[in-house]
Subunit: 213 residues, 4 copies
């Protein structure tokens, strides 16, 4: 396992961080469409060639910036405390907080771009979106295995789409926030959707219920 002998000046971590930070900042400020490599380089105080040397497109810059951001958060994806609904809540809270900070502009712009760029789509799903989906799916599977949930009536895939679809939809159309309240409502809705046949309706508390005997 011979290492490639390092020759010449090593890559500047300072420049790399400056580029990623500038990309996220500009995308958040001016929107995805208005983001240009020239603009990123200038905002980062970096030569344009330095960007092109390491990233082929502005999408690649943004994607790496997002991946870095996610990694730095180092969020625990799939906690397993034995309490399925509690795990769901935890996961949703973490995910929603990340989504709010994650510069919706960047994510939505990348998603739009990924419409006709399968490679980008795959990387986006693989590094940013996919792990969250998989984590939720895992929690639900464990719930089914424990008998707390059932996929007899509604498939787990649809349940996962329910959660992330609603999140995305609100991120995009802004008609309602993606906050802790949404996490609570979604958790409750999931419990109804996936409730096993024999479970009583009272086994779980409805969010808005005022106490109903």
């Amino acid at each position: 396992m011979a290492e490639m002998a390092a020759r010449g000046r090593p890559r500047s971590e300072t420049a790399r961080r400056a580029v990623l930070d500038a990309a996220l900042r500009l995308c958040q400020r001016d929107g995805y469409q208005a983001l240009t490599i020239k603009g990123i380089a200038e905002a980062a105080g970096v030569g344009r060639q330095t960007v092109y040397r390491w990233w082929p497109t502005k999408e690649a810059v943004l994607l790496e910036a997002l991946r870095d951001l996610v990694h730095r958060q180092g969020a625990r994806l799939a906690p397993d405390t034995g309490d399925t609904l509690g795990d769901i809540r935890t996961l949703l809270d973490t995910t929603f907080r990340l989504a709010r900070e994650l510069t919706g502009h960047a994510l939505v712009g990348l998603m739009a771009e990924a419409q006709h760029d399968p490679g980008l789509s795959a990387r986006l799903q693989g590094t940013v979106v996919g792990p969250r989906r998989a984590a939720l799916h895992d929690v639900l599977v464990r719930g089914v295995e424990r008998g707390e949930l059932s996929d007899d009536e509604v498939s787990l895939g649809l349940a996962v789409d329910f959660v992330f679809g609603t999140m995305w939809y609100r991120l995009i159309s802004h008609h309602a926030p993606v906050d802790d309240d949404l996490a609570q409502q979604l958790t409750h809705a999931l419990s109804r959707l996936l409730r096993p046949a024999g479970a009583t309706a009272d086994g779980l508390a409805a969010p808005g219920r005022k106490r109903r005997l």
Copy 2:
């Protein structure tokens, strides 16, 4: 009520249609980002100024093209047959078919653009997205009034987000189709989410049920 006297050469409906058609076609073929006004004008066989004369941006062109498409479909939005779940199915089938044809690229691109353009966002919601949302909401309200559905546990707003969120999410990430099967699953899931407290589980058939003890 004197009409403004018509002076000068009247606007060419031919050119208008050519522009709108070319815009949708190019957006579908090359994606939203690659769409340019120059490209639209050339594909439509139209002078560039003719586009700028009537539409300020490519977003405006796409928006009008979508609106035209929706209007031409003239889809019945909120059928009221007395059968709430049947009405939901009808509405979903119509909406999904439209979404599939509607050049997801255009819609998603516009959505991305609308992130930092409140005016576009409003027009997009008002003309293309909003009516569908409102129609579904109306159907659900009627269901609640008839006692077929209940919003005690899950708010109707969240239920609507569930449907459209899932649709959007699949349109964007392509991990599953937006087809009649999805309409069926969503209808069934809605019936579970909004089932009144006293209703028996058997009142409604589960779509993909494999076994039922």
Copy 3:
């Protein structure tokens, strides 16, 4: 000799004059290059097509405007009073005054344009410039016939070029005015250039001389 029967609405003299006036005014104000047919039509309060119907190019408009201006001045071209130098002075005074009023911009611009438009060049020479040249030449010829001048040493053609060349040169480069003083100096210079061999130097008055008995 049957006249062509006049049919339909007759041409509007008002519009014609408005166009010609606007053309001269705009050319004087903004220069020849900045002159556009659209601008002329709008300044004249006239439809664009009305200009194109009667004149093929902006050059044609300007040329007709100049021709009109010259005709309206109705300047006597070649007075024959018997006093050759006096006739020259008269002719130069008239010509210079016309040139000053004639919107040098228009004339110079047309000349520049005529560089690669032989037809325009011919019409320009024929209607505006040529008659003046011919008139001066006639006066000089009469002077030679009377023995007051001689073309032995300097050809009359060169003498004419001397006068008009100097005028044009000053109109173009603005380094000195084209005024009565120039007319006087040129007249005196001509008398020297074309003085017959036997004439005394005193036969003609030098320009700056104040009365010399």
Copy 4:
């Protein structure tokens, strides 16, 4: 005396020359009006921005092209051989040859443009036209100092205008060539115009003299 450190890619002399050459060539071929920056860039095989980066207008391109041409010719402006008339002939021959090659179109077009652009006018006079004028004036002044010429009757300024006016006039109206013959005639005419009072007519040979008593 520290030089400004050279940074970035240096300007391409190849591109500069290609632009200047293309500009002169196109102006000569199609005329000044038809000259466009787009056309220059394409003919030079150069990006349009490369032209705009270094020259603000097509006038500036032409002016620099002319200046380069003049410099490359490196013409001796004011020879001083002691023979005034000989010096004049030499200067005129050089100037006329340059003018013929110098793409009259470019010069006349620039002159026309300079009508309403004082800055251009000044630069045009300063770099291309002025030095020739000054050179001729110097020669004439030396002639006066030597007693070979006199400015008693005709001012030297008018004499200079005579020469350059005639040249310009012929360049513009094309009614006669600007060749060696013109140089000879003008030299002779100058000798008459500026002949000192006491000089005999025979001191200088008339060029086209037919008979001499």
